[in-house]
Structures are given as C-alpha cells and as structure tokens.
Amino acid sequence: MSEEQHIISYRKLAFVWVALLALTALTVGVTRVELGAYKVLAALAIACVKGGLVIAVFMHMKYEGRLLRWLLFLTLVTLAIFIGFTFFDVLYR
C-alpha cells in the first residue's frame, strides 16, 4: 500500500460538487437561449470542464502518478482519433 496516500478533505469535495451544480445550471441556461450551432459547442465545452473536475478531484487523478495520467491521456487521444477520423469521412464525403 502506498504510504503517501492522499486524503481529500470533505470541504474540497463539497466545493467541487457546488461547482458541478453551478456548471449544470449554466449548461441549461446556455441551451435555453437560441445560439444555433454555438450551443452544442458551449454545452460540450462545459461538459468537458465538468468531466475534468470529476476525473481530477472525485477520481483522485490529480494525485495519481505518471503512469495513470499517461494512460488517461492515451485513452483520450484514442477517442479523439476515432471520432476525428470518422468525421473526416462524414464531413467531406
């Protein structure tokens, strides 16, 4: 067992939860006004921030070593490649 086990305080977790709720309210607000295609972009950008908060703090990734961080990066790059390359085909067919 790792000796340098990091413990995240209740306070910090609650703070992240409040931030996540605020961002949810922001997403709902942004998508209720007519912004056209921008609302998809805005909603996804906010979702990415929320996802980042969950992974970094709730899932302790901020306190993990290099191995897990690189594996996460590798997974996200793989996702980006298979979504991105599919769209090269779908958009410019």
Partner: protein, 200 residues
C-alpha cells in the same frame, strides 16, 4: 496454506482504471454514432430531442452529481478511519441511484406510453431519422442505466464489507475502486445529458 494473502494496491487500482478506459471507449462509440447520425438527420434529431423531458434530465443530473459527492466522501471517511460514516455515505449514494432509476422509469414509461420504443408502429410510420434517434436514446441511456444498477449493487456489497471491517482504513482499495466505477457512471451522464436533453 498459511501464506498471507497477496496484496497489490497500485496494481488493483491500475486494473480498475484500465477497465474504466475500455468503458470510456464503449460509450465513446455510442457518442460517435450519435454525432454521425446527428449530421445525417439534423431535423429529425431536433424533433426527437424536443420530446425528451429536460426537467427530468436535469433532476437526474443533480441526483447523480450528489451521489458522486457521497461516494467520494466515503473514500475520505474510510481513509480517516470513520467506517460508520463511510457506510452512511455509500448508503446515500445507493439512495441516489434508486432515485435516478425511479426518474428513468417514469421517463421511459411515458415514452413507451406514447408508442415510442424501438420497433414501435409509431416510429416505423415516422421518418427514419426519428427512429434512429430513439434507438440511440434507448441504447445509450439503457446501457448507462445498467451501469447504475450494477454500480449500486456493487456499492451495496462493498458497504457490507466496510460494515464487517474487511474493508478498513488500511485496506480500502475495494471501496476506492467501487467509487471509481461510480464516478464513471456520473462522468458518462455528464455527456449524455446535454447531448440528448439540451442541445437539440
């Protein structure tokens, strides 16, 4: 055999994360399908999305975020050697999971009541893009819902292990991994919610 049981904290956590990465790719595939068909049928997707109840979607978002907070706090509690609090917090997560599935039940039964389900006469008679939208909706939220049920059951079992002391302040990887699984369920919903309920 009197060997002490083999323990590998870092290995157990690495294994869990590798599994979670495959889960991300699984749901990534479903988001890719969504994106490709949104490009092909923008009007039908917009019509389908407007039939989803964004208030129920928002309620479920708040419920899942809260459940994630509870399970994250339960990990802090077990690390600080407060097992009773850890069990109570996991129980809070499971109550949230039940709340989520209840909202989902009302949502799905309202849709099915209106004749909207894969292969229904209503969808067969309508535009093809609309049935694609609802098939993806049922598949994505269905597999996500399955994860909620599995996660809830898993956390229930882990809570009983905390209760008996098998999972404790020195040996808590089981709770930590269970919490990681639960956060993944939350993470996926963070993307499902705007894509299906809000942006269309």
């Amino acid at each position: 055999m009197s060997h002490p049981p083999h323990k590998d904290y870092d290995g157990a956590k690495l294994g869990m994360w590798l599994f979670l990465f495959t889960e991300l790719l699984l749901f990534g595939g479903m988001f890719l399908l969504y994106a490709v068909y949104l490009k092909r049928y923008p009007h039908e997707f917009a019509a389908g999305g407007k039939q989803l109840n964004w208030i129920m979607g928002s309620a479920n978002t708040v419920i899942l975020l809260t459940s994630s907070l509870c399970v994250a706090m339960s990990v802090t509690a077990i690390q600080r050697d407060e097992p009773r609090r850890a069990v109570a917090l996991v129980a809070g997560t499971i109550i949230c999971a039940a709340g989520f599935m209840t909202v989902k039940y009302f949502e799905w039964s309202a849709k099915i009541g209106h004749g909207i389900y894969p292969g229904s006469a209503h969808l067969k008679a309508g535009a093809p893009g609309e049935s694609v939208f609802f098939s993806l909706y049922y598949m994505t939220t269905g597999i996500h819902g399955l994860h909620v049920l599995i996660g809830g059951a898993l956390l229930g079992w882990i809570a009983s292990r905390v209760n008996t002391g098998t999972v404790n302040a020195r040996e808590f990887i089981l709770l930590e991994n269970g919490a990681l699984y639960w956060h993944l369920v939350d993470l996926i919903w963070i993307f499902i919610f705007p894509l299906y309920y809000l942006v269309l």
